[in-house]
């Protein structure tokens, strides 16, 4: 084999134009497909205000990623097809010795910077206007819903390996069942008695770490009756994968009758519970005695 310089052809096709056209067509087809065909099926559905916010963001991000995906795929595909060496020739031909191009680099930098700043601005505004979108906001939430004062408070207590729930508005009664009313703002206070867990109410779009000694607040408003899964989302030991339960969303009146029945049913054990508190520091620390 010998190494020869490239013979410069006069009828070189306009590669840049070709790539741009293919990319534009692919993007023009794929973006609407993503938004209107695939988009409605992107999780996590429309059960709550949080899932609606998350779904909207996911559709926007998916649609935005399509031009980038297409750019790379079209370019790679085009290069692989058009910029290949002739394997039959037996000589190794070098390409043109292009080193760099300031204009292209500057354009690339500016475009990606604009995209990034835009994304971050969108993400920030979205996070603040959507009440934190169901994510754990710590003990002093920045993004509160307007009806936070009248919200139903539910404390979620993670422990190895069970979720229990306290309703401070109802004498601090504790249950292992999570029942929530529909169409009412809910304020979760998530904490843990031992190691770090994470409260993930999947269909509600709520996720907040349960950290011992910390109060982690998340908001949600549910629009339809039904049920949802709760799973632990942070590795917490042996039964992490089994630390789940099914929650129920019921009408306001059904919730009232359920909570009053529960208060009555658990009246005796409720007396033994520590007073309702945002965090608990259980003893013993280390030794069973």
């Amino acid at each position: 084999m010998s190494i020869a310089p490239e013979k410069v052809g006069r009828d070189e096709p306009h590669h840049g134009r070709n790539i741009a056209i293919i990319w534009a067509i692919a993007t023009a087809i794929m973006v609407p497909v993503i938004i209107w065909v695939v988009g409605p099926h992107i999780p996590p559905g429309s059960l709550t205000d949080d899932t609606r916010a998350q779904h909207a963001v996911d559709v926007v991000l998916t649609a935005l990623s399509i031009p980038l995906l297409m750019l790379v795929w079209v370019y790679l595909g085009y290069a692989v097809i058009n910029f290949r060496a002739d394997p039959a020739s037996g000589t190794i031909v070098d390409g043109p010795p292009l080193r760099s191009n300031t204009r292209i680099q500057a354009t690339w930098l500016i475009v990606s910077a604009v995209l990034v700043v835009g994304l971050a601005a969108y993400g920030t505004v979205d996070l603040l206007t959507e009440n934190g979108a169901g994510g754990g906001q710590g003990s002093n939430p920045l993004a509160k819903p307007s009806d936070a004062r009248s919200a139903l408070q539910v404390q979620v207590i993670g422990q190895q390996w069970l979720w229990t729930f306290r309703y401070p508005g109802y004498g601090g009664v504790e249950t292992a069942q999570l029942v929530l009313p529909v169409n009412r703002e809910i304020e979760f206070h998530v904490t843990s008695l031992d190691v770090v867990h994470s409260f993930w109410a999947i269909e509600l779009g709520v996720k907040a770490d349960a950290v011992p000694g910390a109060d982690n607040i998340a908001y949600v408003k549910i629009f339809r009756k039904g049920s949802f899964q709760v799973r632990c989302d942070e590795l917490c030991g042996l039964w992490h994968g089994h630390m789940n339960t099914t929650g129920h969303i019921v009408s306001g009146s059904a919730f009232n009758s359920w909570i009053h029945a529960t208060v009555t049913k658990y009246a005796a054990v409720t007396k033994y519970l520590p007073p309702y508190s945002l965090t608990y520091y259980p003893i013993p620390t280390r030794n069973a005695t």
Binding site: R84, W108, G136, G138, A214, L235
Partner: protein
Amino acid sequence: MESAALPVNRSKGAAPSFLGQLLGFNVIWAVAFAIVGYIVAHWLGGKIGANIAAEQNPGGTDQDDIAILLGLFGSIIGWMLGLGFFNYPLKRMLGRAPSLHEGVDSSTWRYFRLCTDHKVVAMQYLVATLFFFFVAGLNAMFIRTELTSSNATLFPAGNYLTLVGLHGTMMLTMMSAGVIGPLGNWLVPIMIGSRRMAFPRIESLTMWLTVLAGFVLLSATLLGGFPTGWTGYAPLADQARAGIDSYLVSFLLIGIALVLVGINILVTVVTLRAPGMTWNRLPIFVWAMVTTSILAVLAAPVLAAALYMVMSDRSIESTFFISSSGGSPLLWDELFWFFGHPEVYILALPGFGIVLEILPVFARKPLWGYRMAVAGMFGVALMSFMVWQHHLFMSGINANLRPFYMFTTELISIPTGLIFLNGFGTLWKAKIRFTVPMLFCLAFFFNFLIGGLSGVFLSDVTSDVVTHGSFFVMAHFHYTIMGGLVFALMGGIYYWLPKMTGYTINQALGKLHFWTMFIFFNLTFFPLFAAGMLGMPRRVSSYNASLHTLNVFVSIMAFCLGLSMLIFLGNLVWSLVLKRERASDNPWHSKSLEWQIPTPVPSYNFEQIPTITGDPYGYGLPEAPVVDFGRRGAVAAGEAGA
């Protein structure tokens, strides 16, 4: 400078007899001494622990963590003793003359002991990291076996968690050494025109500590396993059984090895470049090693400190991470991810380096935008220290800072994007040859793009509420680490192994390996994005029954991916052991320095320290000079600064 002060012994040292080799310091003694060290230190720790336990805990204690931790540290001392790492410091204290050479001879034994030839160390690294890569991969196969069932436990739940932890920790630790160890140690000195690394003994030490770290981690299976995964969250780590001590010591060893290897590479590149090897001519792979080393040197000490705190919590019952005693579980999260996020770039940057190094060779074009690529790597490296709290978006830690970390996280995509632009610029009007290394490099861009774009979903807090801690994250980082780093590493292995071993690697088997790996990798991990969004948390052994079909499909694809890795292993055995074919000096017609020297590379690398006359990417300029092996000192004064 080096050849003047310390003349290289050109004739290969006469190898001692077999018995002499056997009785000398080597890995056999290291294993024996490590076991003895464990036993002695464990006994000592038991004595100490009994007193402490008697004071704090009148009833005695179930787990003798002091004894086990001390035992593991004792095994480190024994291991180093058996390999002979203490000989040189002792000799120097006794007044012997300094020497840069130890254990360098032509016998096979040099691969089983302290050896200061950087090429030997690199081969040791390659075998060791690939061995543990396969062990960790085997664990992944078992994980996928468990996940073929949505609820039944094929393996007892605790063993399953240990599997997950072993897979994650071993992959993360071994792959952070997987490029910088074998390729970094082999290539960096040769690429910069040096005969050695700056600290040859430390180089060997990092390699042997890495090997020990792998086996210490595996010892967790004998100590009851550990339930924490690779992230080792406290206070679960405080609470876990003694297997976590193996995790802690193993990770600590890797942390120390990373710091040492980083310092070694940085000093080597700064001080041992050949005449004419200006910063502008430094191969991009060397830049990748430099930036990786900066990350390792700055990030790994934080990990070591955090690990030390957990050890202290477990052994002497300090309470760094226990909220009811004034500590904080969030402290671990912060410290771990302050290390952990740079760590994932320790796993990404070497991949960038390999790909950008190989791309020009098979595109037959100069690397496009060289300075921008270097700037991109430095940008990634520095910004990786400002994003760690995106791992904690749901933790409730100072949640008002989330927009800031969302911004920095998205900002880091700018320097990462530059790497794509470099690749595309290099491919523009190229003359691509579709060799196996090139295929892996092209696949790198395909995979890493999906990994990067899925990262945007995770960086957006609203979207992250769904995907955080789910299989979406798991698919994301497998796309970046396996689809990125491991694909690049495979490309690098196919590309440089002929030079490193002197034998060609079978291209047909290589192509079979590539296509099966590429297809089954994507079929395995792409569906897991959906699994995560549909509500499958990470590290679970049971999941919602509606995800069963998806998981069975993924498991089958994962098994096929495992078979693809066996093709790779078979190819190595076939090409390097069974059907050897001598490789020529420069089979890829590369202009890079390492291909201009003979194959196999002599132990002194260069007859004379070469003079570098150009960068290694002068494709398209047939006469572009790259290196001058004969004109030592004859460089025009102005050229060195060009």
